[in-house]
């Protein structure tokens, strides 16, 4: 892999390439966790809405509770 330091293009050191591989794994794991968190938030919201509707609340009343 190549890197540019100021005006010079050079090969990365072995250590830098290892760091890049480590970064790729770390970033992919964090991305997966972030997406899982967002999906859980969406699903929690849908479940909460359904439970409120089952209790007899209208959409407007649910919206009023949120604001």
């Amino acid at each position: 892999m190549k890197k540019q330091v100021n005006y010079e293009v050079v090969d990365m050191t072995e250590e830098e390439e290892e760091q890049m591989s480590k970064d790729a794994i770390d970033i992919a794991e964090r991305k997966k966790k972030r997406i899982e968190f967002i999906e859980k938030q969406k699903s929690d919201k849908e479940n909460a809405n359904k439970k409120l509707k089952d209790l007899g609340l209208t959409d407007d009343e649910i919206e009023a509770l949120r604001s």
């Binding site: 892999m1 190549k2 890197k3 540019q4 330091v5 100021n6 005006y7 293009v9 990365m12 830098e16 760091q19 890049m20 591989s21 970064d23 790729a24 770390d26 970033i27 992919a28 964090r30 991305k31 972030r34």
Partner: protein, 223 residues
């Protein structure tokens, strides 16, 4: 390019195209030459970059002269079609520092097929690198005209009494090669817990080592 500044048809200043400006002062009856070095803003670095996985801009900071710096990354794209974010690390002693010392927060807005969206982000708590946008992918080769711009304000990177604060604005004309997200912007900051370190530069890279193309420019603003 040389140029002339006129007031009501009269030449009042000329530029030689290399930064020097000569002002003709009618009252004094003499010309004053202002050298480019007298400017409060000095261009320290400029390069067109492509075909590399990591970009390091290093060795240009001098806090005894400059109060703060503006680092622009323009026309930033990935050379291949890939879904990756952009990250940075500060350089200490010329090398990227991967100590767990990066704390981020950000918010922004985007256009999603005509709908307005907003996004907050603050998930880097003592990370070993700083992300540079709100989970957006760097525009890539799948969308020929898309690109991103980052305008960073860096204050006193060489001081060792306080944590370093970096603020930047990110705009992008595409999310990866998506046709849905065509206007993206966010403002961001990173606290770098580096109170005992002299920051010498910045290193930029994507999440999967993809090659990048960009124009990088660093300006210093004098005290």
């Amino acid at each position: 390019m040389p140029g002339v500044l006129k007031l009501e048809g009269t030449n009042i200043a000329t530029g030689d195209g290399n930064g020097a400006v000569t002002i003709n002062n009618a009252t004094l009856g003499s010309a004053v030459t202002v050298p480019s070095t007298a400017s409060a803003c000095v261009k320290l670095y400029r390069a067109d970059i492509s075909g590399v996985s990591l970009v390091s801009i290093d060795g240009y900071f001098n806090d005894s002269i400059y109060q703060y710096y503006t680092l622009r990354l323009d026309a930033l794209r990935q050379d291949i079609d890939a879904n990756n974010e952009l990250f940075f690390r500060v350089n200490v002693g010329g090398s990227a520092d991967s100590t767990s010392m990066y704390w981020n927060c950000a918010n922004g807005n985007y256009n999603d097929n005509g709908g307005a969206g907003s996004q907050d982000r603050a998930d880097n708590d003592g990370s070993d690198k700083s992300h540079m946008d709100n989970t957006w992918y760097v525009a890539d080769a799948g969308q020929a005209a898309g690109s991103g711009t980052y305008v960073m304000s860096i204050a006193e990177p060489q001081q060792t009494d306080r944590y370093c604060s970096v603020y930047w604005v990110h705009t992008a004309t595409r999310h990866g090669s998506s046709s849905g997200f065509r206007a993206i912007m966010g403002h961001h900051m990173c606290t770098i817990d580096s109170s005992n370190k002299v920051i010498t530069g910045f290193s930029f890279f994507t999440g999967n080592s993809t090659n990048l193309s960009l124009q990088a420019t660093l300006y210093g603003f004098k005290k």
